[in-house]
């Protein structure tokens, strides 16, 4: 039963106020993309054991999408941040690196 801080409301939102939205920072492939790139965009997932960058929506709340960095094995939440970025904030990446020395990085 997760709690995540909505970066827009500043509220520690209960999991039941949120809707999960899968892997974050996927780059949309569209008309003109190769079959490989398009398949990868739609289906290939990192699904890591460990640090996962993912999307959530504060659906029973402000309705905004946001990002979270969370461990899929301990469920620790390293941070949440706005949806309008194509990569995680550098400070967050640094923080996670410090906490998880063997971590391969967000890409």
């Amino acid at each position: 039963m997760l709690i995540l801080e909505c970066p827009y409301c500043g509220i520690m939102a209960d999991e039941t106020e949120l809707t999960p939205g899968g892997e974050a920072h996927l780059k949309r492939a569209t008309v003109g993309s190769t079959d490989d790139a398009f398949e990868s965009y739609l289906f290939d997932r990192k699904n890591p054991k460990g640090v996962h960058f993912e999307r959530w929506r504060h659906s029973a709340g402000c309705g905004k999408w946001f990002h979270a960095a969370r461990s899929t094995t301990t469920l620790e939440v390293y941070g949440t941040y706005a949806a309008q970025v194509s990569e995680p904030p550098k400070e967050l990446v640094a923080k996670i690196k410090k906490k998880c020395p063997g971590w391969e990085g967000w890409q």
Binding site: G10, D14, T16, E17, A60, G61, C62, K64
Partner: protein, 190 residues
């Protein structure tokens, strides 16, 4: 507009708190960049209410303005003045990227009053409504069991709950059930 009737038609329930239909209420959704000075000024001018900060609700002149998200406000006003205010806001915001919509009929307002009002709400929402965590002047959008809802506290012993019109009956029954005598928890006593 004598043809307009509220979804709950004045329903009321007397339990260990009182649950009642607040009646037809004017509500206007305002979407725009709340950080933009022009937007702020236009809203203030059209409504007469200052802009609420994050998570807040501000009252003035019988109207209330609630913060709903970083780009959304909800104006509470008289039902009959909502169309006029919608038009006034639209006009004041002309030239800005904004959206104003009268949503008076899309939502219902219910009232829960009584010294144990917090407890009745606490049976239904994951939001922390204990004193200190929540009180007058704050607006919370959350969930009442299976539906989305929002609420604020006009004073220490009452809540105003807004929910979608189609689930008005569900929310009224839910609140009434939570306020049923025999279900007192005594959570926020003394």
């Amino acid at each position: 507009m004598s043809d307009a009737v509220s979804a709950l038609a004045g329903a009321a329930y007397e339990g260990y708190c009182q649950v009642s239909d607040a009646g037809l209420t004017g509500m206007v959704t305002i979407r725009g960049d709340l950080g933009a000075a022009k937007v702020k000024a236009a809203v203030k001018k059209a409504t007469g209410v200052a802009l609420p900060g994050q998570g807040a609700i501000v009252a003035a002149k019988g109207r209330k303005l609630a913060w709903m998200s970083p780009d959304e406000l909800l104006l509470f006003c008289g039902y009959d003045e909502a169309p006029g205010l919608t038009a006034a806001l639209t006009e004041a915001l002309a030239g800005q990227h904004a959206l104003v919509a009268n949503v008076s009929d899309a939502r219902v307002v219910l009232r829960v009053t009584g010294t144990q009002a917090r407890e009745v709400i606490a049976k239904l929402t994951p939001a922390d409504v204990s004193p200190g965590a929540f009180g007058p002047g704050q607006m919370r959008r959350t969930r009442l069991q299976q539906v989305a809802a929002g609420f604020h506290m006009p004073d220490e012993t009452s809540f105003e709950v807004i929910a979608f019109r189609s689930v008005a009956d569900y929310v009224f029954t839910l609140l009434s059930n939570a306020a049923r005598p025999g279900g007192e928890v005594g959570l926020f006593d003394g």
